[in-house]
Subunit: 339 residues, 2 copies
Amino acid sequence: MTKKTGKQTIIFNNPPHILSYVAVGGKEEAKGPLGKHFDTIFPDPYLGEASWEKAECKLQYSAVKTLLEKSNYLPQDIDIMFGGDLINQCTSSYFAARDLQIPLYGIYGACSTMAEALHLGCMAIEGDFAENIIAVTSSHFCSSEKQFRFPLEYGGQRPPTSQWTVTASGAVLVTKETGDIIIDKITTGKIVDKGITDANNMGAAMAPAAADTIKTHFEDTKLDYDYYDLIVTGDLGKLGKTLLDRLLKEEGIDLSERLDDCGCMIYNIDKQDKHCGGSGCGCSASVLASYILPMVKEEKFKKVLFVPTGALMSPLTCKQGESIAGVAHAVSITKREEN
Amino acid sequence: MTKKTGKQTIIFNNPPHILSYVAVGGKEEAKGPLGKHFDTIFPDPYLGEASWEKAECKLQYSAVKTLLEKSNYLPQDIDIMFGGDLINQCTSSYFAARDLQIPLYGIYGACSTMAEALHLGCMAIEGDFAENIIAVTSSHFCSSEKQFRFPLEYGGQRPPTSQWTVTASGAVLVTKETGDIIIDKITTGKIVDKGITDANNMGAAMAPAAADTIKTHFEDTKLDYDYYDLIVTGDLGKLGKTLLDRLLKEEGIDLSERLDDCGCMIYNIDKQDKHCGGSGCGCSASVLASYILPMVKEEKFKKVLFVPTGALMSPLTCKQGESIAGVAHAVSITKREEN
C-alpha cells in the first residue's frame, strides 16, 4: 500500500515541517508590495559580480547562506539540497551547492521548480532518508531575458501578454519535526500542452496545466472547494490567472474568491509597468518565503494550496515549431496543530 | 532515526526492485561491443524526425514505450517518471513525458543524471509514495555537440582527451517487489571542482568527484574494498578512468581490478576512433540497461556499484571563466536473494 490517494496525490503520515525560509531579491522586487518582507535586497543587478549568471548564482547562494544562519544550522547539517533555476545546465544551483558543499539533486521544472523541490524534499524527509533538506530556486531578469528571448541591449518591445522574470531566490528548510508549518499533501502534475507557441504568452501555456493539477488535487483528496483559504498558482500572471479561473469554471469548479497568483502578487503590476506580472522560478519561491509562509505561521491563512506552474519553453524547440507545454505541481501547506 | 548511514549513504530496508530495462541506440553504439544487447537500434541519426532534438526526444520516448511493452505495463501504471537529458530545458524528457502522459519530475545532473533518477525513484518506492517508477535518460551526439561545443558542419578537430557523446537512451522500471534485481544502497555525491576549464577534458573534471563518492561510499558503509565485483563509473573515459584509479590509490584504496567505466565499455574505442570513449547521460543509462543489469540477473556479476558521473559544463559559464565542476552519485545493485 502506498501513501498515494487517487491518481496523483500523496498524503503524508508524518507531515514534514517547515522550519524557516528566506527570500532575497532585487530592486524591482523591493518596490513591489512584498518588498518589505524580503530578507535581503540587492539593489545592484550584478550583485557585485562580473556577469548576470554569476549574479544569479550569488542570489541563490546568499538565500541558502541566510537560511542557514537564520536557522542556526551549518551546511553539514543539511542532508540534501533540491535546487533548480532557469539557466542552462542549472549552473546557479550547482555552483551555489559547490560553494556551500551540500549534496545537491539538480532539478528542472521551469517556473514550477520550487514545487518539485518541495515534493522531492518532503519525500526524502517523510521516507526517513533525510533529517533536514533545503528546497531552493532562483531566477534573474537579465540572465533569463538573454537566454530565453532577446539580449537586453537590443531593447526589444515587450508585448502586453509578456511577464517580467523576477530577480529573486527563495529557500525553505524542511525538517522532520521542528517547525510550525507542515506540508501534508502533494499532487504531482502531468504535462499539459494546448499548443501555445508564443514565448511571450506563458500564462496561456501554463493555465491549462494549473487547472488540471488543481482539479486532480480535489478529485484525489475529495476535499470541498472551500477547504483552502488560498490557492496560489506559480506565475500565471494576470492573463493566465483569468484563464485558469475560466477553465476551472468550465469544469464546474468555482474557486474565484480564493485564487491568487504569485506573478500578480510580487509587483504593483500597473505602476511598475510589468505587463502581465512576474514569472521565473524565483517568483513563486520568493513569494512563498516572503509572504505565504509568514501568513500561514501567523494563521492569517489557515490552509494554502501552493501550485507553482512551469512553461516548458525552450528557445530552440520553439524555433523548431514545438509548442510550449505546461506543468504544475501542488503543495498543501498548513499550520501545525498543537497536540 | 533516518535510514542514513555515515555522511551521504542511504540503506534501504525494503530495497526497490528492478523489474525490467531497455536500451536503445544509434549506429555507432550498434558497432560497439554492447551493440548486440540493445533492444532497438536506429541507424538514422534523425530517427525520421526533422531535427536532432526531436530525434533525441523520440529516442527517449521509444525507450520508455518499449520498456512498458516489455513489462506489460500501461503508462497509467507508472506513478512517476524521473527523467533528464543534456538538452537545455530538458526538452527530450519533458516532450517524451507529455506524449506518454506520465507525471514527470525533470532532473539535471549532466552525465550523472541516471544515478539521480534512480536515487529519487528508489526513495519514492521505498518511502511508499509510488508502486512503479521509471528512471530514464538520453543523449544524442549531434544535439549535444551542437549545444556544448561546435556545430557539426564546422568539422571542428576533436582533441585526444575528448569523448564522444553517446546517441542512446536507457530506461529502467523500478517497482516495489516484482523484480530479480534490487537496489539496496545509494550514496549522494557532493560537487567537487578541481578547476578544470577544458570542455574537451571532461574525464579530468569528473574523476575527482567519482573518487570522492566512491571513497565516501566505503567509509559510510564500512564495506571491504572487495565487496563489489564491479565498480563502474558513468563516463570518465580512458583518461578519467586512469585518473580515478590514481586518485583512489593516493587515498590508499586499490580497486584497479574491479574498476570499469561505461564510457570505455560502449565503444571499441580505438577501432571506432572515439578518442577517450563515450559520454552523455545516455551512455551510463544504456550500458546499465544493455549490459550491467542483464549480467547481474544472470549472476555473472553478484554486486555492482554503479557510479554515473557528471561534468557540470555550461558553454556560457566556461566562456565566463568558470571551471567545470564534477558530481557522481553511487547506486549499489545486486541480485535479489530468494527467501
